[in-house]
Symmetry: C2
């Protein structure tokens, strides 16, 4: 463990820069905050390359275990002032510990369609909170993964990681363009399902089949028509209100739980 | 319609101050942004007291209709520079129009338990995005309202209003302390239901009964034990993952759609 003092230290600057997407992408590193998230990561076999903690902190056996594991793996364990931690995380009263992880491989090969009857797909989901929520839902339903299609929010952003409540470390994650995904999907078994108003079935009585890929679209525009028409099954949920829409992550979860009840 | 120039005009300062909860609560006013939200409001009979728009804007028949209605109702219609609109909304590239509304009465008397088989309840929900999402879900399932228990996020904050996608104007909304809510609930028919791990039933086969009050708890702590034990029915959803939890707004929606399918 080493101490770093001052706010202009190069390591502090480097850590702070990871909050910017541009730097994060260049470095292929991301940050997770809080002992709970870091412990979730450790329990799934992922350790931060760099572990940063406040000089003044309460002792906690899980933090001690984390420090031992990171040092044993050759990682960097750093103590900084609270002011430096505020600079790094961009928050007042930051959590007492955060860690820098290497981004994962998110190629489609990471998805095993035999691992679960259900896989989630999000297309052009722009809100990092929604994206993290989808990861969390994927964890809860035991999905075989989450596939991000086209220009989604960055799943490694602080907001998405936080909203995932640790699921970023546990749920297989892939990123692909539509054509690439479609080619991969059609090269094996898989039923592509989406909520749609076009020639769609009642979502409660529709014939789901494993492995079922449940796809939701962009928050404002929904799915492109071409993507809807590629689906093997289109379903609709009751809309009793005036607005005729649900939050995208909510719609995905309602559908995922229905599929889970039928073929899970 | 009147033009306001300059950023230090008292009206601009007043409008800008409504972004702060303290000022908003004192004035009992809130702001909604964008022609779509304002049109939603107009269609439900709610007009802004003050309508603010950018000098440079595209003409739109719905905006023209809004201007006519606000002026006819004696409201204030104001044109400002884009810089002033940025100051008011706190956003770069703000929407071209926003409106100031008087807060609604949110007493429990606003909830009509005979209006729908389903009413949503959120306890100590702290995230304004989640709260707006709950309003949107309440609209989609045709709920008779959303009841906010204890210290929830402010439903009239810009973030909650935005996440509600107009449902702030369409869904009956009440705010109450737990004891007040419980007294009101028990003075009439109503089944209180919550997700719980204590002596709970499978959410797919549980015996829901109208009017069914579906309650979700705080994002990190869930519901207090006392509140769970007051429920007439406790249910559980499958948790196949490692984290054993769902986003609170997601859990509420999955449960609400199940109740809707059974007794809606």
């Amino acid at each position: 463990m080493r101490q770093i003092t001052g706010l202009s230290n190069p390591t502090v600057k480097y850590l702070r820069s990871l909050r910017d997407k541009k730097h994060r992408k260049r470095e292929q590193r991301f940050m997770a905050e809080g002992l709970r998230l870091l412990t979730d990561a450790r329990e799934t076999g992922r350790l931060p390359e760099t572990l940063v903690m406040a000089e003044r902190r309460e002792h906690h056996p899980l933090l001690d275990a984390l420090i031992v594991d990171v040092e044993r793996a050759g990682g960097d364990v750093i103590e900084v002032s609270e002011a430096a931690l505020e600079k790094i995380t961009g928050k007042e009263n930051p959590q007492a510990v955060c860690g820098v992880f290497a981004e994962f491989d998110t190629s489609l090969g990471k998805i095993d369609r035999a691992a679960s009857p259900l896989i989630l797909v999000a297309q052009a989901m722009r809100d990092p909170g929604n994206l993290g929520t989808m990861l969390r839902t994927a964890d809860a339903v035991g999905a075989g993964g989450l596939v991000l299609i086209d220009d989604c929010a960055d799943p490694f952003s602080v907001e998405a990681v936080r909203a995932s409540m640790g699921a970023i470390f546990t749920v297989p994650l892939a990123q692909a363009r539509w054509d690439e995904f479609r080619g991969w999907l059609r090269a094996g078994p898989g039923q592509l399902v989406a909520a749609s108003l076009r020639e769609s079935h009642d979502y409660r009585t529709a014939a789901y089949a494993a492995p079922c890929f449940v796809m939701v679209g962009n928050e404002s525009r929904g799915l492109p028509e071409e993507y809807e028409m590629e689906c093997d099954l289109r379903v609709h949920m009751p809309m009793r209100g005036r607005a005729d829409s649900l939050n995208a992550a909510v719609a995905g979860a309602v559908l995922a739980y229905e599929v889970l009840a039928k073929i899970g």
